[in-house]
Amino acid sequence: MRRIRLTLTLLVLLLATGCVRSRNLDEYAYILNVGVERGTTMPYLVTFLVSVPNAGTEESAVKNVVIDAEARTLSEAVETLNAAYPGRLSFSRSSLLVIHEDLARTGEQTAFLDFSFGKSDLWQNLRVVVSKDPVRGVFEGWVTETDPSLRKIKTAAGDLASASGITADVGYDEYLEAVVDKRYDAMLAYAGETEYALETDLVGGDAYPYLGGSLLTKDLLKTSVAGCAVFNGDRMVGVLNGRHTMAVRMVTDAFERGELLLTLPDGTPMSVVLYRVRAPKITLTGENARVELYLEADPVSPEYTGMGRAERKAFLKERIEAELDEVFSALQRVNSDAMGFGRFAAMRFKSAEDWEAYDWKADYRTLSVSFSVTVMLSQEGTP
């Protein structure tokens, strides 16, 4: 009996302390994507893509909504919009953060992000994308007649990165690590919606640029994600197209599979599907770095009999190494260690203080890298 009383008292105590604040889940408006760009009257223009139940399904004509507000911080924008939007805005399902290129080029996004992630229910690991066009346009480019579930769009970007290697798949955590740690520089996916605005990337060249907004398509979603924005610290310093993004991902061990279109010495085009065999081996000694890459190549087209197996291997090795050299030189020019050699520089230190006192970027400028690619041909070209 005494124990019953004790238990009852404890239960009453528990019940009397009041509830943790809560709301029904249908009273919330779920923000799917968050976008930030430079404002006109306030420092930032914050744009949200808000989920509307049943949007995008066959039986319903409703679409997800894009709303925006100018503010100094994320919470200010939320409060402003809460006053005008039916339903309380919630970040619990947000998984994409879009930063406008203008903001990224000046590094102004850092202050905004520091503030936003301080105390909010924003998921620490949402995917970060840089957009070359206004965020509203980018979001609206996703909300079209072919509007699938928004989650599927978000996962599609990640799948694209792993399946084709032509874009980066970087979460906020990784971006933050790059900015705080300074061991490597961030490389964020690049999005756009303006049609056919070809841009030249850091490396240059006349290859078809797989770049956000610049894809040669007409009928699909207006907004596309391809290529990447390259950073130096928290400032964006350039753009790499899909093919060059693939080269960087090979070195950072983020590459899994990708297709490469090459031109053979006689001018015939050849398509090669590359697969990762094992992690690249990177050795950093003094001012020299050596990168050994292991790739499996599957030349799918065309029927070409002008080269033997060994010649093909040598040709592929040479072309990939040349491309890696080009990309590295372009990155070194803008002082961006997107390939992450700094990660190996840190291994030489036995004390945190020494590492913190060391300026890696100063040495990076003079770093010389030799790439060695081992290509394994999986099969002869099939018709």
């Binding site: 009996m1 005494r2 124990r3 019953i4 009383r5 004790l6 238990t7 008292t9 404890l10 528990l14 019940l15 509830c19 943790v20 809560s22 709301r23 029904n24 889940l25 249908d26 919330y28 779920y30 799917l32 989920s51 139940p53 049943n54 919630s90 970040f91 619990s92 399902r93 229910d121 998921w123 579930s149 928004l150 989650r151």
Partner: protein, 530 residues
């Protein structure tokens, strides 16, 4: 009121509780103790009977625990008016009419003049015994076995052999099928209201001479007849003494049933978990008895109470022991998952939906939000309302007899659910969750446990509505702690998992039947599994 408050803050009252400790077993525990006991048993049951009738009577009296076992009938009579003999049988197992008509009556009228006592068995068999199946034997083991089976043993003074007569005759009242604890593979018969029949049903399964059915009166003015059934020499005597003590303390004028007795003798009255296994199946009670536990039968009650119980025994069904090990394991795993779902699913869903929406995927979130668009009740109230409606339908189905009860269950479930969704009182997702919960609840084999889970689930829902997963975690921890503290007749409720016993048993899977020799060790029986 003041007294209640004062009691709450008093710290001086002792609260020592009965605990069945290992050290309370009689004798010194030793490595060879078990072997010694085995030898003694062998001595008792092997060998041949004595010539002296009194010695044989004494032997049977000891073997069948005649002091406490009134079932053993040792009828003295004289064959032909001169040769003293005893007819030994078990009440309820042997047909008394057959004994009277075909053994006693011819014995009285038999003329044994000139026949020596040593030859009487053969003479008696040949000239008087009007029974089809008889057997003469010297073996003590055979005699003990025959009596336990319901045959009658005739022991004659001066004769070195006994006559075993087949007088097996069980009660005439038909025994019905178990209605609430149905199984597919196991036996079907159920206890009846007749105490003697129930004892017979048990005896037909437990055919051991050390099986004791001790009759006694309950306390109180009504003096209801009770039977304490156990294996003497296996069950822990301290546990038996404690049960007797608690039964002695019963002082009530109400009619007693096993359910009421449980409430009068249990240690933890507040917590909804049952502390006695109530079963209507003799095979389940018999298994428990063979496992070193005690069954309690009550006059006029078709249920047996088994003590002590643990969570594992309450979650065990005869079915998964009858099925082969892999199948049994799957069945048990599904049952445990069902039980966990039944307790935690509504609360978990409520916590996620109400406090941690980010943990649900966008699709689920949108589906739930869309299905709730026109529902006016807040989600927690909706959930609790529906859980109560479910209990209502169930209770109504139980109270209405036969097929109408089934109909009420189906109609209540289907129509009410459909109507509630159309009327925007509840949403479809919540309906599905409650239906799943209900299904999970029915996988729990014990009725008292089902009810306990049903109400615990509502408490959890309140906690989840108040503070999401924090509430569930806190409530779960408090419940686990209380379960760990709880004891059923001195045995920790979560044994053999906490505390762990030497011969650990499993909850989610089933052990091999080969390993199930002897009694489980968590009830501290005298003869345990190796």
């Amino acid at each position: 009121m003041m007294e209640a408050i004062r009691n709450l803050f008093r710290f001086d009252a002792p609260y020592a509780r009965f605990e069945l400790k290992e050290t309370e077993s009689p004798g010194t525990p030793s490595f060879f103790a078990h072997r010694k006991e085995k030898r003694a048993k062998l001595r008792r049951e092997s060998g041949t009977i004595a010539r002296h009738l009194e010695a044989n009577r004494e032997w049977l009296h000891t073997l069948f625990r005649g002091d406490v076992n009134p079932d053993l009938i040792l009828r003295r009579f004289l064959i032909g008016g001169s040769a003293p003999a005893i007819a030994a049988s078990l009440n309820g197992m042997a047909d008394q009419k057959q004994i009277a008509d075909f053994i006693l009556r011819p014995a009285f009228s038999l003329d044994v003049a000139g026949v020596s006592n040593a030859k009487i068995p053969a003479y008696f068999c040949a000239h008087a015994l009007a029974l089809y199946e008889t057997e003469r034997t010297e073996s003590r083991g055979k005699i003990a076995e025959a009596i336990a089976e319901g045959r009658t043993a005739i022991l004659i003074d001066g004769a070195k052999e006994a006559i075993l007569c087949d007088t097996r005759g069980f009660v005439s009242r038909p025994v019905g099928e178990a209605k609430n604890e149905t199984t597919i593979l196991g036996p079907r018969e159920a206890f009846t209201e007749n105490l003697r029949t129930n004892v017979t049903l048990l005896r037909r399964i437990v055919k051991r001479p050390d099986f004791v059915c001790r009759f006694r009166d309950s306390g109180g003015t009504n003096r209801t007849k009770l039977v304490i059934a156990y294996l003497d020499g296996t069950v822990n005597p301290v546990l038996l003494a404690e049960l007797e003590k608690r039964l002695d303390a019963i002082a009530t004028d109400t009619r007693l049933t096993v359910g009421r007795i449980e409430q009068l003798i249990e240690g933890f009255t507040f917590f909804p978990m049952p502390q006695m296994l109530k079963t209507e199946r003799p095979d389940r009670a018999a298994s428990a008895i063979l496992d070193g536990r005690i069954a309690l039968l009550c006059e006029g009650c078709p249920t047996a109470g088994v003590i002590p119980v643990t969570l594992g025994t309450l979650m065990e069904s005869g079915e998964d022991v009858d099925a082969r090990q892999p199948v049994g394991t799957i069945m048990r795993f599904i049952r445990m998952t069902g039980a966990l779902l039944s307790a935690y699913l509504p609360a978990y869903f409520l916590a996620l939906a109400q406090h941690h929406a980010g943990q649900l995927s966008s699709e689920i979130l949108e589906t739930v939000a869309a299905s709730r668009a026109m529902v006016f009740l807040p989600l927690p109230l909706e959930m609790i309302f529906l859980l109560l409606v479910f209990q209502l339908v169930r209770e109504a189905g139980l109270r209405v007899p036969g097929s109408i009860g089934h109909a009420i269950g189906i109609i209540g479930g289907l129509l009410l659910g459909q109507a509630a969704v159309s009327a925007n009182i509840v949403s479809t997702v919540v309906l599905i969750i409650v239906a799943l919960t209900g299904l999970g609840n029915f996988t729990i084999p014990d009725y008292s446990m089902q009810v306990a889970a049903a109400y615990y689930r509502i408490v959890l829902c309140v906690a989840a509505a108040m503070s999401g997963l924090l509430g569930i975690a806190v409530m779960g921890l408090i419940t686990t702690a209380i379960l760990c503290t709880m004891k059923s007749f001195g045995v920790p409720f979560l044994a053999p998992f906490a505390p762990v016993t030497k011969r650990g048993e499993r909850l989610f899977s089933r052990e091999k039947l080969k390993n199930r020799a002897g009694a489980s060790d968590w009830s501290n029986p005298l003869r345990r599994r190796a």
